[in-house]
Point group: C4
Chain length 225, copies 4
C-alpha cells in the first residue's frame, strides 16, 4: 500500500529538500506558454488616421508580414525548445540546487525571446537584428546543452538511460547552436539566406529523425511504462 | 498494486518517448487562458487631455463598444475552441511527434487571435478586418479538424470510440469553418450580417445539440469511468 | 484496487462527456493569475523628458498613487473571487454544459477587470469611472451567484452538502453585489465614500466570519476527508 | 485502500474548508511565471525614424543595457523568491484563512515587480528609482518572513520539522530585507555600489550555503520521502 502512496505523490523530487521535478516543469510550462502568447503583442494592429481609408489599411496590413514571419518563426522556436525541455525532463530523476538554477537561467533566456522577435520583425532589413536573433538562439541552445550535460554528469538522470541515447540527445541539442552560428556567418552574405537557415533548423527539429525511431525502440522495452 | 501505480501516473502518454497527453493539455490551458486575458489589452482606457471633462470621457467610453463587442466575441471563440480541444483530448490515448506539432500549430493560430480581435475592434467598418477575422476562424477550425482526423487515422484515440461519435465530432468541428466561409461571403453584402453569423456560430457551439445527448449516452455505458 | 484507480484519476468529472472539474479549475487559475499580473501594466513607469530631473520624477511618482490604489484594490478583488471560486468548486461533484459556460462567462467578467481598474486609476475624480467599477463588481458577483445557484439546483454539488451551508454561501456571495450597488448609489454623494465602501467590502470578505467557523465544524465531521 | 485514496487526493488541505496547499501553489506558479515573462515588456524594441540607419539602431540597442540589467536582476529576484516560496510550502501541512491571505498579499508584492524593474531600468541614474527598488525588495522579504513565521506559530507546518531548520530558514529569509536596507543606505554614497549589493544578495541566495547541506541531512532521514 505504501508503494502506491509514494508513487502517486511525486517521488522523483530532490535529494536536498529543494524544488522537485514537477514544480520546475510547472514553472517552465507557464513561462513557455506566456512567452508564446506575448509574441503576438509585437504584431500590432496598424494605426491609420482615417479609419475609412480601405487601401491605406490594406497597405499597412501587407506591411505587417515581416512581423508575422518573426511571430511564426519564434513561436516554432519556442515549440521546439518546449518539446526539448520536456524530453530532457522525461529522464530526470533528481534535482539539485545548481540544476534548479540552470533551469531558471534557461527560462530567462526563453522569456527574452519576445524582444529578439520584435527586433527581427521591426528591423528585418538590418543585419544587426538578424545577428542578435541568431546569437539569442545560440545562447538558448548552449544553456540547453549545459542543462543536459549537468544532469548527466551529476547523476540526476534515470540510471537506466542508455549512454547512446544521452549522446544522441546531446548532438540533437547542439545542432541548434551550431546551425545558428552558421546562420550568423551567412548574414554577412545575405539576410534572406540567414533567415532561411533558421527556418531549416526548425524543420530539422520538427521532422522525426532516424534517431527518433531508434529512440522509441529503447523506450518500448520497459513495458510497464 | 502495480496497476494502481501505473494508472495514477499518467499512463496514456506517448508511444515514442515524446511528450504525453497531460503535458500538451497543460501548455494548451496556458496558451488559452493567456490569449483570453490578453484580449483585454486591446480595449484601452480612453485618453482625454482634460481629466475633468466628464462628457468627453463618457463619449469616448461609448465609442469603445466595437472593441468591447470584439472582446466578448473573441473570448467566446476561445472558450468554444478550449472546450473543443479538451473534448478531443478526452479520447486521445497516445501521442506521436506529428500530433504534437499539429497541437503547437493549433496553439499558434489560437495565440494569434488578440491581433485579429484588435483589428476587428478598431476597424469594424472595414470589410478587410471582418474578412481577416473570418479567415482566421476558418484556419483555427481547419487545424482543429486536421488534429481530430490525424488522431483517428493514426490510432491515437481510445479504441472503444464509436465511429459514429468520431464522425459526429468531425461534423461539429467542420461547422465552424463552413459558417466562417459563409460569413466571409456575406461580408460583401453587409458587415453587420457577417458579424451576426459569427455570433450565431458561437450560439450554435454553446447550445447542447441532440448529438450531445446521444454522445452522453455512449459515454455512460463504460460505467467504471 | 479499482476504487483506487477510479478515485485518483479525477472522478468528479462530468455526466455528459464534457469537461471535468479539474480542467475548469485549471483554466480559472490561469485566467485569475494572468488578470492579477496584468493589472500592473496599468501602473506605467512615468516618462519625463529630462531623465536627470529628480524632482520632476518624484512628483510624477507621487501622482501615481490613484493607479497604485486601484491596482491594490483590484488585486484584492481578484483574490476574493479566486478564493470564492475555489470554495464553490470544493463542493462541485459534476459538471454539465451550461455550468461549463457559466464558468466561461464568469472568467470573461474576471478578465475584464484590468480595463475597469485602469479606468478607475486614470479617472479617479470622475463619477462615471467609479460607477463602472461598481457595476463591474456587481456583474461579477451576480454571475458568481448564478454559478452557485445553478450548481445547487441541477444537483452538481456534493449530495452531503448541508442546505444551511448552501444558503450561507449564497448570502456571502450576494453581499458583494449588494454592497457594490450601495457604493454606486453613494458615488452621487462622494466618490471617496464610494471607494471606501469597496474597500470595506473587501475587508468583510477577507475577515473570517462567524459563519466561517460554523462552516469549518460542518466540514470536520466527515473525518476521512 | 482508503489510505491510498486519501493520500493521492491532496490531503494536506485546510482545516477550515478553505483553499488547500496545492491550489495556492498553482496560483503562485502562475503569478511568478507571468511576472517573470512580463518583465520583458519593459525592454522595448528601440524605435528609430529611418529603418535603414544601421548605426542609429546599434547606438539605440547599446543604450538598452540598463533595462537589460534590470530585467536580468529582477528575473533572478523572482527566481529566488519562487524557490523560497516552494521551499516554505514543502513543510506546510495545513492552511487557514489568514495564511491564505498572507499568500495573496505576497503575490501582490511579487506582481508589482515589473513596475519597480521598469523604473530602475529607465531611471538608473536616479537615486529615487534605486531606493524604490530596494524598498520593494524589503517589502517582499518581510511578507515572506511573515508568511513563514505565521505558519510556524499557527502550527501549519510539518510537526516533525526541526526547530533549527525553522530558525535557519527564518534567518535566510531575513537576509534579503536586511541587505536591501543596507543597499538603500549605500545608495546615498553610490548608486553603482547599491545595485552591486542587490546582485551580491542574489548570488548569496543562489549559492548553496553550509546550512543547505545540513538541511539536506535532516531531510534524508525520513527515507520514505
Amino acid at each position: 500500500m505504501e508503494t502506491c502512496t509514494t508513487d502517486t505523490v511525486d517521488r522523483p523530487t530532490s535529494r536536498s529538500g529543494i524544488l522537485g521535478k514537477s514544480r520546475i516543469e510547472n514553472l517552465a510550462d507557464g513561462v513557455f506558454s506566456i512567452a508564446m502568447t506575448l509574441l503576438i503583442l509585437e504584431v500590432r494592429v496598424p494605426e491609420i488616421a482615417d479609419h475609412t481609408e480601405t487601401w491605406e489599411l490594406v497597405k499597412q496590413l501587407l506591411a505587417v508580414w515581416p512581423k508575422l514571419l518573426s511571430f511564426c518563426l519564434s513561436f516554432v522556436v519556442l515549440g521546439v525548445y518546449w518539446v526539448g525541455h520536456h524530453n530532457q525532463f522525461h529522464y530526470v530523476r533528481h534535482t539539485d540546487r545548481p540544476f534548479l538554477w540552470i533551469n531558471i537561467f534557461y527560462l530567462m533566456s526563453i522569456s527574452f525571446l519576445p524582444f529578439s522577435a520584435g527586433l527581427l520583425g521591426t528591423y528585418n532589413t538590418q543585419q544587426v537584428a538578424v545577428m542578435i536573433y541568431g546569437f539569442h538562439l545560440t545562447t538558448i541552445g548552449l544553456i540547453s546543452y549545459w542543462h543536459w550535460a549537468y544532469a548527466w554528469h551529476h547523476n540526476l538522470l534515470d540510471p537506466h538511460l542508455d549512454p547512446r541515447v544521452y549522446r544522441m540527445t546531446m548532438w540533437r541539442i547542439l545542432m541548434a547552436p551550431i546551425l545558428s552560428v552558421i546562420a550568423i556567418g551567412l548574414s554577412f552574405v545575405s539576410l534572406t539566406v540567414s533567415v532561411l537557415v533558421y527556418m531549416l533548423l526548425l524543420v530539422a527539429c520538427i521532422l522525426p529523425s532516424r534517431r527518433d525511431w531508434r529512440f522509441s525502440v529503447f523506450r518500448r522495452h520497459p513495458s510497464s511504462e
